[in-house]
Symmetry: C2
Subunit: 306 residues, 2 copies
């Protein structure tokens, strides 16, 4: 027997200016889409209603960085979002002993992330779910945060299982149908998977078409910040050759930035792949892009096989 998924929560508006998830959650709630699923409950949450009203990612702290267990248990953290994180943790968690079995947290990016499924844990459920999403949909890229931290700070980490579905490129504060449709399709496929999982006798899920033996994903390892001038202001932009690219490889000597004077600035470092290229949400930390490298995991053993 596996540990069945009885309760699913679909979350929108963890970032208040990512409208796709907000409108998708509202639309599903209005159309009572939860009735489509018989063997588990589906509930909805708009996570940061204040930021949504302000049409901002967050007001005081990024809500999707507030869910480390150590922070949820720290009474001195009480900004608007830190308080909201604790409320959500009581509602859907608490982290470590959660009443919610699976959280789908909906995000968008101003970068071309395609349908990015973010994993914060590597286990049979998540690896097979990710592989099933890749099997069923085009342009799915699985990324992993597991190299970055143990006690994860994402909202979805408070449930027993969870993923982030992040579609882009789309500007903040706007809706576009392809982004809405891709997000919706990813949710539908993920919920189909949950149903197959619930009807399987053990952790190896029985699916109509067998999955590949291994899952290829991109594992985040570091970030690249913008060059700044002597007053701390950004003085170069992401090189036009990289804008709009999905997870390109970059190697020592490739173009990376372009100064306002038009001069190219070259990448110096080990070969890597780039994600979140020129993500508008990261300008507050002057992060120009994130770095990730391919990794391959066996679906049977959950171990790296590359």
């Amino acid at each position: 027997m596996n540990d069945k998924v009885k309760s699913v929560v679909i979350v929108g508006g963890t970032h208040g200016n990512e409208l796709t998830g907000i409108h998708l959650v509202q639309s599903w709630k209005k159309n009572q889409r939860e009735k489509d699923f018989s063997d588990f409950s589906v509930d909805y949450l708009i996570a940061n209603t204040e930021a949504r009203t302000a049409n901002k990612r967050y007001l005081e702290h990024d809500l999707n960085r507030c869910f480390k267990k150590i922070d949820l248990e720290n009474p001195s953290l009480n900004s608007l979002e830190q308080t909201r994180a604790k409320e959500i943790n009581q509602l859907l968690g608490p982290k470590g002993a959660a009443k919610t079995d699976f959280i789908l947290d909906l995000h968008t990016s101003t970068a071309n992330m395609q349908i990015n499924i973010v994993l914060t844990r590597i286990d049979p459920f998540h690896l097979q779910l990710a592989a099933y999403l890749k099997q069923q949909l085009d342009n799915v890229v699985i990324t992993s945060e597991i190299e970055l931290m143990d006690d994860h700070h994402f909202l979805e980490s408070i449930a027993t299982r969870g993923i982030v579905i992040e579609v882009g490129a789309i500007p903040q504060g706007a809706l576009e149908y392809p982004c809405f449709e891709k997000t919706q399709s990813a949710i539908e496929v993920a919920l189909d998977f949950v149903s197959y999982y619930n009807h399987s006798n053990n952790d190896q899920v029985t699916l109509p078409d067998a999955l590949d033996e291994a899952l290829d994903l991109m594992s985040y390892h570091s970030k690249i910040v913008f060059p700044v001038d002597d007053s701390g202001e950004i003085c170069a932009v992401v090189h036009p050759d990289l804008i709009g690219k999905a997870y390109p490889q970059i190697k020592n000597g490739d173009v990376l930035f372009k100064g306002f004077d038009g001069k190219d600035i070259l990448y110096q470092g080990e070969t890597t792949h780039l994600a979140f290229i020129n993500e508008a949400a990261y300008y507050d930390q002057k992060i120009a892009m994130c770095c990730c490298r391919p990794a391959r995991f066996s679906l049977e053993t959950c171990l790296r096989v590359d």
Copy 2:
């Protein structure tokens, strides 16, 4: 003799999350670009520093809607931006008797507006300037606000002369080199024109290459709002066929929106052109796009000739 342009002010950050103008103004100021121009002064202004810090278009009121003369003279209007508008009016104006001869106000759009030069007045200076920008640069589109109001609410309206330079598509809160470069080129061409104007004996400016006899522009006349459901929430998105298009024509029966259910919603109305398609900044008013129609003005008489 014409009325020479002695003082030019380049304004960025009238909207706090349109980074191109902010960084361009900072870059020009740092590099003392004002020294490149001998026959007029060039000064710089970051208009809404508070909104810039917050990375928002505005905090209480859209600053670029606060410059009607009647509002500038109304002591009861005292929100953050209304107060700031009065300060800027003292600094660069006052409107109607301004110490500034020409304001270039730098904006960006999340819609594909190309290099959009916005005119709020039709006279020999502005028509020839617009025609010169079209002659010198690719992808320049002249739009006119003159059908919309007399006492204009834009910041640039406080000077004797002024234009908005608005480049897109680019997300809010992000920088991209092509957008920076297009904005910079438009400024440089506009300042070249000022020099030619200052060296001409009358309002008909002597230029190296003669301008066309007439200027084609797009004149705004109305707006189209999003469909909403019974709770007032947006329930359809701009049709994917229109996303990314620059000033397309639309006629009765063409696709306009797509519901979250995937159903097309058709345009009903007179043939027109569309601008600011899915502009993120207009979601707060649920405006999906603006309507404009072609108009042709004689450069000699400043009268319509279409």
